[in-house]
């Protein structure tokens, strides 16, 4: 069985598909809103040094990723160990060498990677206009405004994804997360 097949089997055995999806959305949303807030803050402060903006945002993105990986790993590993030990008690045997044992060891790592990668990837997408501008690529909008546009778009896409998961209409769900993003931007504007 290939790596993807194994991962699917482990997620299936531990019924963890939903958990991984939930972590992806929750931490991806955290990443998107954090980048939105940071970029809004820089925009209302008229920050012009792209290096400073990029480093600050990248620092926050890395911190979110590390926090996502470590917190999810610690909590999921504890949950999986508990579930395995309860199952072993019910079965009256050691399941360490079975697929359940391997799933209990690997699923926390898989979920942790999803939880850490979601805010990092979404943040990198939002920061891409700043990188392009620093590399000398001409953008149709000022870099910070383009990054804010990417943030709104990424958060809208997360809503669309949630809509698909729940079976709701994608547009309604996308608009819902977009409204949350607009509310966040509005709250940051109050600082001005």
């Amino acid at each position: 069985m290939n790596v993807l097949g194994q991962a699917r089997l482990w997620l299936n055995l531990t019924r963890s598909h939903g958990i991984a999806r939930r972590y992806f959305v929750v931490n991806g949303f955290d990443g998107g809103l954090t980048m939105l807030g940071l970029n809004m803050g820089f925009w209302i402060s008229d920050a012009s040094d792209l290096e400073v903006v990029l480093n600050a945002c990248l620092g926050a993105a890395i911190a979110l990723a590390v926090s996502g990986v470590s917190s999810a790993y610690l909590s999921e590993a504890a949950e999986r160990r508990k579930a395995l030990s309860e199952l072993e008690e019910a079965m009256g045997k050691d399941l360490g060498a079975s697929a359940h044992g391997r799933a209990a060891r690997w699923v926390p790592l898989l979920i942790a990677l999803v939880n850490g990668a979601a805010p990092l990837l979404i943040s990198l997408f939002i920061l891409s206009p700043l990188w392009l501008a620093r590399a000398g690529v001409a953008l149709p909008l000022p870099p910070l405004l383009a990054a804010l546009g990417c943030a709104f778009f990424a958060l809208f896409l997360l809503g669309v994804f949630l809509g698909q998961v729940s079976g709701r209409h994608w547009l309604g769900s996308g608009v819902q997360t977009l409204l949350i993003a607009l509310l966040t931007a509005g709250l940051v504007l109050l600082l001005e």
Binding site: N12, R15, A90, H100
Partner: protein
């Protein structure tokens, strides 16, 4: 050559994998295995199955290993059909 043609097993396994996935995992251990799984009892975390495996030459060790891989535990071998060749 002695071949095991049919086995009736009493197996305890966790709810996951379910009976269909479990039967598939067992069937994959031989080229011509027919596997029939009957759920006899369902508890909070486990279920007791009656598993019937039929085939030209059943490899019991591989079958036992597959049951273990699925987290199952073989409780007893209730029926066996073996043929002896020349």
């Amino acid at each position: 050559m002695i071949n095991v043609k049919r086995l009736l097993l009493d197996v305890l396994k966790p709810h996951s994998p379910n009976a269909l996935e479990f039967a598939r995992a067992l069937a994959e251990t031989g080229p011509d295995y027919r596997v029939q799984v009957k759920v006899l009892e369902v508890d909070e975390k486990t279920e007791t199955l009656q598993v019937e495996v039929a085939g030209g030459a059943i490899d019991f060790e591989r079958l036992h290993e597959a049951i273990g891989q699925c987290g199952g535990s073989l409780h007893s071998i209730d029926e066996v059909e073996v043929t002896g060749g020349e």
